[in-house]
């Protein structure tokens, strides 16, 4: 039998411990220091084992990179692929326990938050010393820049582009070589495909419950028309701009059309977002370039023919893209900083980019490589590269991006649900996004 006295004694002890623990646990979360100048310009290749984490959507490209590096270096990179949805939890847990990998690569929209929370080492001097710094994809460097200190470099570039199923276009009487050059054309072409009334075939498809995929798909149309989706410091949304309104109206029309948007679009969480197009069931949709390679490979093996074009705005001839993918930095917990820098600096070189990306039909993060190493590549890969070379791509940056856009049930996700499947008030929903952005 437990006495009242012992309960009181135990409770007091717990309370006392609770009061003391915060003091003991204080001190985390400071910005980690700069990497020493003594590290050689190309890092150290002495046979150390370096750990690297990245996300599952970029598994194929990451394995290519690591395979080539491990074959040509004494250092060995041990790659761990983390499911996209587990990334925050895994990185957070490791950050608390000091067990982050040597190199951490993550979704470029998550990078500003990670960098501001001090989980990377400051590699400003090393990045500035790179002779080809100007050739690198700047969006991934800017995403990891906090108070003038640089923490990240591009790892894998993923851009959004428009794809269409040429076989379905032919069946619908559309020109299979001509994809949409404006949002209006996108809507009319998608409606034609919907009009085929083929089992399971839809005009377009949307990941209605994946804030990240929605941003990736829809932001470029606003950028193409010269509108911004956020202000410079990412504290205020401007999603009620005329271009976004026209884009959302187009999707609303498709949602109202039989077979306009593929079944499951409204509740698609992103888990099977790219599958309907890859299975030949969708006419035209914005798509990640990292998944296009697989569709082109399938075409060579007898699959449907695929067309690729930049994502248009409302005005014909104006295009843009979302410069996404993973940026990488050396984590605060790395014990092999010089070796990790060896990997980073090696991957930034034009030769390495050609070997690991261009030769595999993937998109390089080095503009010089994009311009010179794809002369024999499939014209569609060259189209994908052109959207980066043209400089019409953007990477949105805000420390609160995840809460405002990516998180389950985010205000951006609700804005889309209201605008496409409901009767939304775009201005009010835009204000709800701004409210979250301005909090941080």
């Amino acid at each position: 039998m437990i006495s009242m006295k012992s309960i009181v004694r135990t409770t007091t002890a717990i309370a006392a411990a609770a009061m003391l623990l915060p003091l003991a646990a204080c001190g985390g979360g400071s910005q980690s220091g700069a990497v020493s100048d003594k590290i050689p310009a190309k890092g150290t290749d002495d046979g150390a084992q370096i750990t690297l984490w990245t996300r599952s959507p970029l598994e194929r490209q990451a394995k290519n990179v690591v395979g080539v590096y491990n074959k040509s270096h004494k250092n060995k990179v041990k790659l761990e692929i983390i499911p996209n949805d587990d990334m925050e939890g895994k990185v957070g847990g490791a950050s608390q326990t000091g067990s982050l990998p040597d190199i951490l690569a993550g979704d470029v929209v998550r990078i500003p938050y990670w960098a501001s929370e001090g989980i990377f080492k400051d590699i400003t001097k090393q990045i500035d010393a790179l002779s080809n710094k100007a050739d690198l994809q700047q969006g991934h460097i800017k995403a990891g820049t906090v108070d003038g200190k640089k923490y990240t470099l591009p790892f894998i570039t993923d851009v959004s582009i428009m794809v269409w199923n040429k076989d379905l276009y032919q069946q619908a009487g559309l020109d299979p070589e001509k994809g949409p050059a404006s949002i209006e054309e996108f809507t009319s072409q998608a409606k034609k495909i919907a009009g085929l009334n083929k089992d399971g075939v839809s005009g377009s498809y949307l990941a209605g419950q994946s804030g990240g995929a929605l941003a990736f798909d829809l932001f470029p149309s606003s950028w193409a028309d010269g509108h911004e989706v956020m202000n410079d410091d990412g504290s205020k949304a401007s999603l009620d701009n005329p271009s976004m309104k026209a884009t959302l109206d187009a999707y609303h029309q498709l949602a109202e059309t039989t077979n306009g948007l593929g079944a499951g679009s409204k509740e698609e969480t992103g888990a099977t977002w790219t599958a309907p197009f890859a299975n030949g069931k969708v006419g035209v949709m914005p798509y990640p370039n990292t998944s296009v390679t697989a569709v082109i490979e399938a075409e060579k093996k007898g699959g449907f023919k695929v067309g690729v074009a930049p994502i248009p705005g409302t005005e014909e001839g104006k295009t843009a893209t979302f410069l996404g993918g993973d940026a990488m930095g050396i984590s605060k917990d790395s014990k092999h900083v010089a070796q990790a820098w060896n990997f980073l600096s090696w991957l930034m070189q034009a030769d390495s980019q050609k070997q690991v990306f261009a030769d595999k039909g993937d998109t390089a993060s080095n503009i010089r490589t994009l311009k010179t190493a794809y002369t024999d590549a499939d014209p569609r890969v060259q189209t994908i590269n052109s959207v980066i070379i043209d400089g019409h791509g953007q990477t949105p940056k805000s420390p609160a991006f995840n809460e405002a856009f990516n998180a389950a049930g985010s205000p951006w996700q609700l804005l889309i649900q209201n605008a496409v499947w409901g009767k939304g008030n775009l201005q009010a929903d835009n204000q709800a996004v701004s409210k979250v952005l301005s909090k941080e």
Binding site: P22, G28, E88, S95, Y113, K266, E267, A271, G409
Partner: protein, 286 residues
């Protein structure tokens, strides 16, 4: 006395490491500014609780969790008892039925949810096509497209996964009732309904309350099934309280302090709810 304390030491260590330390840490976390990436940045009580209580999703999440708990508990207890009564007699056919009912319990909840996610998917699963063929829904729709249909789709997963388990628990209760009582009642002329009402139900009370406690606790802590099937959507319509805790910790807020504060609130609520249910058990055993 000293020897007794030494004997009790392993138990005490077990309790301290697995129960006291986590609860103390939870309390500390709930009273601190503790972000996912940045760690503990000092005591901030009661800010986390204020933020949680003012969160616009909390009220809906509590309401939805309670709605789900009530529906699932009623269905599982009635179905569990019904199935147990159906197959309580030992026969070859009943053995086959028992195995069939119990088999889904061997599947992990996450695996079961993934299985149904595929079945419900309009792209790859047959459910949409079958329901559309029967005229019960639009061929372009999905059972997960609205809050209510997503709730019922999830309940079907849970009923499929757990009804055999509750049948087993109820069968154990039924088999502990002495056969003499039924025999005596029949000799006194009692019918099936009267026997069920006056013998089976009163003597099954401890088992039913135990199942009630399991079911209510499990349903209030529902997470896997909704996380996999709906991610709390559409429009946060299927956001449960534990999903909100996850959301605070790892998704939207990345704030372990807020997540711990809500966890503590849920813990206290469960203590109160379970105490009330256990009182029912004690009243019966007096």
């Amino acid at each position: 006395m000293r020897r007794g304390m030494i004997y009790a030491l392993p138990d005490w260590l077990f309790i301290i490491v697995l129960f006291v330390v986590p609860i103390v840490l939870l309390i500390v976390m709930a009273g601190s500014r503790w972000t996912l990436m940045g760690g503990n940045r000092g005591w901030n009580f009661p800010t986390n609780f204020t933020k949680v209580l003012h969160n616009e999703l909390l009220g809906h999440a509590i309401g939805f969790t309670l709605e789900y708990t009530v529906i699932v508990t009623v269905i599982l207890l009635v179905l569990g008892l019904g199935l147990a009564l159906l197959v309580q007699e030992s026969s070859a056919w009943n053995n086959v039925l028992r195995t069939c009912f119990l088999l889904p319990s061997a599947t992990g909840l996450a695996s079961a949810s993934l299985l149904f996610y595929a079945l419900y998917s309009p792209q790859v699963g047959p459910v949409t096509k079958i329901l559309a063929h029967l005229g019960l829904m639009d061929a372009n729709g999905s059972v997960l497209a609205t809050g209510q249909s997503a709730l019922w789709a999830t309940i079907i997963v849970i009923v499929w996964r757990f009804s055999g388990y509750y049948m087993l628990l109820m069968m154990i209760g039924l088999q502990s009732i002495p056969g003499d009582l039924y025999e005596a009642a029949r000799m006194d002329g009692a019918g099936t309904w009267r026997i069920f009402r006056s013998i089976t139900l009163p003597l099954m009370r401890p088992t039913i309350i135990m199942c009630l406690v399991y079911c209510v606790t499990g349903s209030i802590l529902a997470f896997d099934q909704f996380f996999i099937l709906t991610k709390g959507g559409p429009n946060n319509a299927t956001m449960t309280v534990v999903e909100l805790i996850y959301n605070f910790a790892f998704d939207s807020k990345k704030d372990l302090g807020m997540a711990a504060a809500l966890s503590l609130i849920v813990l206290l609520a469960l203590v109160v709810i379970n105490s009330i249910q256990m009182r029912g058990l004690r009243d019966n055993t007096k």
